[in-house]
Symmetry: C2
Subunit: 287 residues, 2 copies
Amino acid sequence: MQPTPEGPIAILAGSGQLPALVADALARAGRDHRILAFRGFADAHLRDRADAVADLLDVQRATACLRDWKPAAVTLVGGVGRPRPTAVLGAFSAFRNRREIGELMARGDDQLLRGVVKLLEDQGHAVVGAHELAPGLLAGGGALGRVLPTEDDRRAAATGLALLGALSPFDVGQAVVVAGERVLAVEGPEGTDRMLRRVGRLGRGWRLRRAPSGGVLVKTAKRDQDLRVDMPAIGPRTVREAARAGLAGIAVGQGSTLVLDRDETVREADRLGLFVIGVPLPWAEAP
Amino acid sequence: MQPTPEGPIAILAGSGQLPALVADALARAGRDHRILAFRGFADAHLRDRADAVADLLDVQRATACLRDWKPAAVTLVGGVGRPRPTAVLGAFSAFRNRREIGELMARGDDQLLRGVVKLLEDQGHAVVGAHELAPGLLAGGGALGRVLPTEDDRRAAATGLALLGALSPFDVGQAVVVAGERVLAVEGPEGTDRMLRRVGRLGRGWRLRRAPSGGVLVKTAKRDQDLRVDMPAIGPRTVREAARAGLAGIAVGQGSTLVLDRDETVREADRLGLFVIGVPLPWAEAP
């Protein structure tokens, strides 16, 4: 199947706000689109506006939708968690052999999603990232709100980015918390919100007093990451969780992190006294 | 003050089993030693056999003991957590300026301990590691118990060691959990036991199914780490926590990790069906 330039954009929608934000951006731009919402993941209000609802593992249903829609491009947005290995084996067995699936499941979420992108591309689809369809969601450089980072905060952010760069070859999270030169947490499969709650508990423990600088959440896509899958994002909830963990602010990779609901994110950051900045990636090419 | 070769070994004792194990090893070797137990950290039964008990931050008392004992060497063993910054400022202010202390506190535990080593060395003491006094505690190569790792487990261990190597320049923990190629957790200041409990919760969550391989705890000293401070250790409790988290086994860096209570560690590993292996470090010099 060849992409049809005049076709709609197909949104394969998982959990969270991102699918609706991308659909809104396309609607505002007058771009025709179709939504396939994954049952058990997509928000109820997104399912109401979806053109089709399918089980995540019902590959035949998804394939039939795409055959029908003849999209110009397909985008995978929102979280899809991680299905049971046995369910994956059942659903995908028509497409790939069991050994390949087993190997895929032993890898991280990003490799799993990369496998889905490969599958879609093998079927002739053009796969694009949310940031290409809704560039307004992408974090730029500089401060987003009124609060500015101190020199110490900037150094902690630089340490966090260097750490995320060193972690890039590994299947691990896209966020860390750094206070001074001290790494308070590295995100695992539990996600950013739970990592921040862990940092909050560290601060309250008698053994670990918070370092003077307060700490900075640093989040960005990995070095050489395919930005069409698992693009890191922050939003108002991230700001609230960071405040609850006692952090001074948030630093995101410029051009490689999404800011969901920018207005509310800035409002919450200003209200809670946190900075939110986009910083250039040390490994990015010069413009 | 110059070290007196005929003097005793001074053990500055924090929490955990290690101080008693080092004292036992010295006693068995007929080596004279003195114990300074830190109040609030050292075990009660160690405090009973200690020659002196002092507050962690009572630097004058510790210094007076060492002046009195004229030790051949000093060793810092066991955990000391992290004191309140204000308490540190008060106690150390006679020795170092506030800016230096503030910078020290912003760094990780290992840098803090390195500061104490520097202080002791500045006073003319020879500082040695627990592994030099009790080499029998050091992990060797190969399997410790009856259970052997699979090829998948060995690959996960190699991934974990590579990850710990990449993390070495940063002030972060000395342990990770890897399943397949997937990193399930990176240790922060919360320590190994809490990290393992976090991995156990991941496995039970609906979003995250355990990867086929079960997962391996990988623990080792950092690349270029000063082994006289914060030497990583495992013991029977580590084995029990790893089993509870659903892991297949434990891999430790050969010659750079301590095994506390080896007999009981092996017994627990055999009973619970976990492997425990010492693996050569990819960054170690050839012998």
